[in-house]
């Protein structure tokens, strides 16, 4: 009989964080997948914050997870806007050719 502890959630958040990083390293051409991997990484940070807040009996972690949520939403909006104008300029979203945008 095991009871739920902080270590369960810590390992879960680490696993999700590693999956997100793995996706970043793996898909280096599709820009929208890179944005989704960043969302996964932020979700892992959120899980860590909230579970630590619950198990340490301190509410500040949940407040900070709300701030992380705000920043994640802003980042997604800006990233997708950049993606849309990049697609309008180039006709594709291959991120390996983004260095051709200079000069």
């Amino acid at each position: 009989m095991i009871s739920l502890s902080y270590n369960h959630f810590f390992i879960l958040s680490i696993v999700i964080f590693i999956i997100g990083c793995f996706g970043l390293f793996l898909n280096r051409r599709n820009m929208i997948l890179i944005l989704m991997c960043i969302e996964i990484i932020l979700l892992a940070a959120n899980i860590n914050f909230v579970s630590a807040s619950v198990f340490l009996n301190d509410i500040n972690g949940q407040v900070f997870s709300i701030f992380i949520l705000t920043i994640a939403a802003a980042e997604a909006a800006i990233g997708l806007a950049i993606l849309v104008i990049y697609f309008r300029n180039k006709g594709e979203i291959d991120i390996t050719k983004i260095n051709q945008l200079r000069d």
Partner: protein, 199 residues
């Protein structure tokens, strides 16, 4: 036992959906799996008693961010983009990162134990009231600043994606407000049988 069982169920589902997000060939499938991952983390948050953050996660992520992703994926025709699974090139850096993170996990889970902090007195029973008690007093400035960040993101997204086309006719509000009726309408008395002379 119910708590532990549902934790393992939801977390297994969460990890599986995150893996599917990465490995899906079609970006639309990735976005839908991302929605499922957010839903599972919502369940996990509700399971440990953080209802407010869980519901906010569902509303913000599933209702706004994932739908935004879905719109962009469907608007751009990116079926033809092929994924590059060039793993061999990145094996050394991946091994370095993975070993660092593994060492951190082992250090933190084996040598550090987390204790429940009983000193903090929680005034309210309700999770939402607890958050509101702190969010609008201690973190008031941060709360306003996050609102400014959202405003800047909105303005930035509009400015980036807005296209000015001079060929489209549109209202000029300044011109409308400064003009008067005498510039636009001319009243003519017409005598019967003569018609209007065009000056």
């Amino acid at each position: 036992m119910f708590l532990v069982g549902s934790f393992f169920l939801f977390s297994a589902f969460l990890v599986t959906t995150c893996i599917f997000v990465i490995f899906s060939k079609n970006p639309v499938n990735s976005v839908l799996f991302l929605v499922l991952a957010f839903l599972n983390s919502t369940f996990l948050f509700i399971l440990i008693g953080a209802e407010f953050v869980g519901i906010i996660l569902a509303i913000v992520y599933i209702g706004a961010v994932a739908i935004l992703f879905l719109f962009v994926v469907m608007m751009l025709d990116i079926q033809k983009v092929t994924l590059m699974l060039n793993i061999k090139k990145y094996v050394p850096i991946a091994v370095v990162f993975a070993s660092i993170i593994l060492a951190e996990i082992i250090y933190l889970t084996v040598y550090k134990t987390t204790k429940v902090n009983p000193d903090i007195i929680i005034k309210h029973e309700n999770n939402t009231e607890q958050i509101g008690d702190v969010l609008y007093t201690t973190y008031f400035i941060d709360f306003q600043l996050s609102g400014i960040v959202l405003l800047l993101a909105m303005i930035g997204a509009i400015v980036l994606t807005h296209v000015y086309r001079p060929s489209i006719k549109r209202q000029n509000i300044d011109k409308q407000n400064t003009t008067s009726s005498s510039n636009r309408v001319q009243l003519v008395k017409i005598k019967s049988g003569q018609g209007i002379k065009n000056d």
